[in-house]
């Protein structure tokens, strides 16, 4: 190779007047040092250090860029800093929540038998012994896990047909009729119902129908479906609406009846969106506490019957473990179990989200040859 071929790394007239590549890092370094110095004036803490650094970094980079590159580039840098800053502010709580749940939840989750045993027979004395002798914390979330899964499953079985059929009516038959408008309005109102009100509604309803004090998993499922139905209606409606009209017309032109067209063309085309909407609706109600507390009560033993007897669930389990530790003098084991249950709940919701994506990709209309 001849020496003349080596490209010049120096700046050409096209790249003149730009900040060097290392500029952000240099500014960041200076900002970190200055920020540390400033925060030490008022007493060091990591959070304040971050804030000072971010402000100094933004000011420094924008000022430097303004001096070298001109106002347009400086504004661009300012906007970038603001966008990235907002992003960090948005994810910080999320990361922090997951981190806290992991750190506090893993000891509970990894205790042998945590997922397989209930709280039946686990007394304050047992917890005291565990703390004093350093032995393993007894008791687990099995009964609550069973309860959560069963209650949400029943709620889903109630909500999906009702929600899907409602959205089919709204999109395919509604035609802006007064009834369709009224349904849309009430669905919107239902979306905003506080969850405790849904719980009270279900409790009162079963009070009237079955008699006072009826608290079972099924009542809780009804309460949850009151919360779920509007979400399912809304998401399915959106999904059905984006099915192109041309597909419906293609089916009609083949002499296919409307209900068959809906069943075999419209819904299959939208099914992936509908399925992920349903999964997200489940994820939305699976963490509800208040409505379950007033409808399913609270149990410490395994109850496999949704239609009879009080039932535990993960959120109410967490709630009672924190509020009324099994051993009031030694709340440590209860704390550990509560965090463990919280971690299980988060994992459950994440699994649901994964399943939603999986379903969406499985059912999605096939592309390619």
């Amino acid at each position: 190779m001849t020496a003349t071929m080596t490209p010049t790394r120096r700046r050409s007239h096209l790249t003149k007047g730009q900040l060097p590549k290392y500029a952000p890092w240099a500014v960041l370094g200076v900002a970190l040092v200055l920020g540390a110095a400033l925060i030490n004036l008022i007493g060091f803490n990591a959070f304040g250090w971050g804030i000072f650094t971010a402000v100094l970094f933004t000011v420094g980079l924008v000022a430097w860029s303004g001096a070298v590159e001109g106002a347009r580039k400086a504004k661009d840098k300012l906007a970038t800093c603001l966008v990235v800053g907002s992003f960090l502010i948005a994810v910080l709580p999320l990361v922090s929540v997951i981190w806290t749940a992991l750190v506090n939840g893993i000891p509970g989750l990894l205790t042998p038998g945590f997922l397989g045993t209930s709280m039946n027979g686990v007394t304050g004395a047992a917890d005291n012994r565990a703390v004093e002798n350093g032995t393993k914390v007894l008791g687990g979330v099995y009964h609550a896990l069973i309860g959560t899964v069963q209650i949400t499953a029943v709620a889903t079985i109630i909500s999906v047909p009702v929600g899907l059929l409602t959205s089919v009516y709204l999109v395919e038959y509604g035609n802006d009729r007064p009834l369709a408008k009224a349904i849309t309005f009430f669905v919107d109102v239902m979306t905003g119902i506080p969850s405790i009100v849904a719980g009270l509604f279900a409790a009162a309803f079963f009070f009237l129908v079955m008699g006072p004090g009826t608290k079972t998993g099924a009542v809780a499922a009804v309460a949850l479906s009151v919360l779920m139905i509007p979400v399912v209606v809304r998401s399915s409606e959106e999904m059905l609406k984006i099915v192109p009209n041309e597909l419906r017309e293609a089916a009609y032109a083949l002499g296919v009846r409307k209900w068959r067209t809906i069943l075999k063309v419209v819904i299959p085309t939208a099914i992936s969106g509908i399925a992920s909407g349903v999964t997200l609706a489940i994820a939305r109600v699976i963490g509800e506490t208040a409505p379950i507390l007033v409808t399913a009560g609270f149990a410490t033993a395994i109850n496999n019957n949704v239609f009879g007897g009080w039932m535990a669930s993960l959120p109410t389990f967490i709630y009672t473990q924190i509020l009324n530790p099994t051993s009031p003098s030694n709340p440590g084991p209860s704390d550990q179990r509560a965090w463990g249950a919280a971690l299980v709940l988060i994992i459950l919701v994440m699994l649901l989200n994964l399943i939603a994506r999986l379903i969406a990709s499985i059912f999605a209309p096939k592309k390619g040859r």
């Binding site: 035609n175 192109p244 041309e246 597909l247 419906r248 017309e249 293609a250 089916a251 009609y252 032109a253 083949l254 002499g255 296919v256 009846r257 068959r260 067209t261 075999k264 063309v265 299959p268 085309t269 209309p365 096939k366 592309k367 390619g368 040859r369």
Partner: protein, 259 residues
Amino acid sequence: MSKRIDVKDLNVYYGNFLAVEGVNINIEAKSVTAFIGPSGCGKSTFLRTLNRMHEVIPGAYAKGEVLLDGADIYGAGVDPVTVRSNIGMVFQRPNPFPTMSIRDNVLAGVKLNNKRISKGEADALVEKSLQGANLWNEVKDRLDKPGSGLSGGQQQRLCIARAIAVEPAVLLMDEPCSALDPISTLAVEDLINELKDSYTVVIVTHNMQQAARVSDKTAFFNIAGTGKPGKLIEFAETSTIFNNPSQKATEDYVSGRFG
């Protein structure tokens, strides 16, 4: 198999808006009829009333008579579904069902209606329809692949195969070639020529050469101005319309001296 269509004094409305007024036309069995005319003059609207597809649009309705071999498709007690299985339609934009394979798309008219059909019969029907649509050779090795994976022209021919698989008496086509390249267009035009042997074909087109090439008779629609209803101006042999039209407007339109 193929049937004739006679239209008497047909008016088509979108709500209060009169879109097409006073159409009288007689379409022979086993012929190709082309509809031409400026944009917005109601060709698609009128075409849709021939198999009651306009009823899918909220507020649209038609007044008058459309006789399919003498029976009024708007008569009391006539089920639009029956009408549409007799009179098929191909749309401007290809619209294969995205959830179905090529094979299932062709069989859609049978399968969606839950008609029982044996595997052998189904295979024969798929081959016959795809052959009829000039598509068999291109897709015979990938019948189980999704229909949306075909090119635009292939998709349009797939839609034609789907339409002829239900063996309608009449086939309506609304600008079937407007999204196609010249070669696919030629394939579709050849196809129309073959279809004529067993079907009555009505085609809307903006392409005069196409109308001249494929049709036996041509109908010219026009509109007096925006907000006015579209009307059938002249209906005659294609050669008459293009060479020796009786109306001034027709002559202006076909010779390009329009407006």
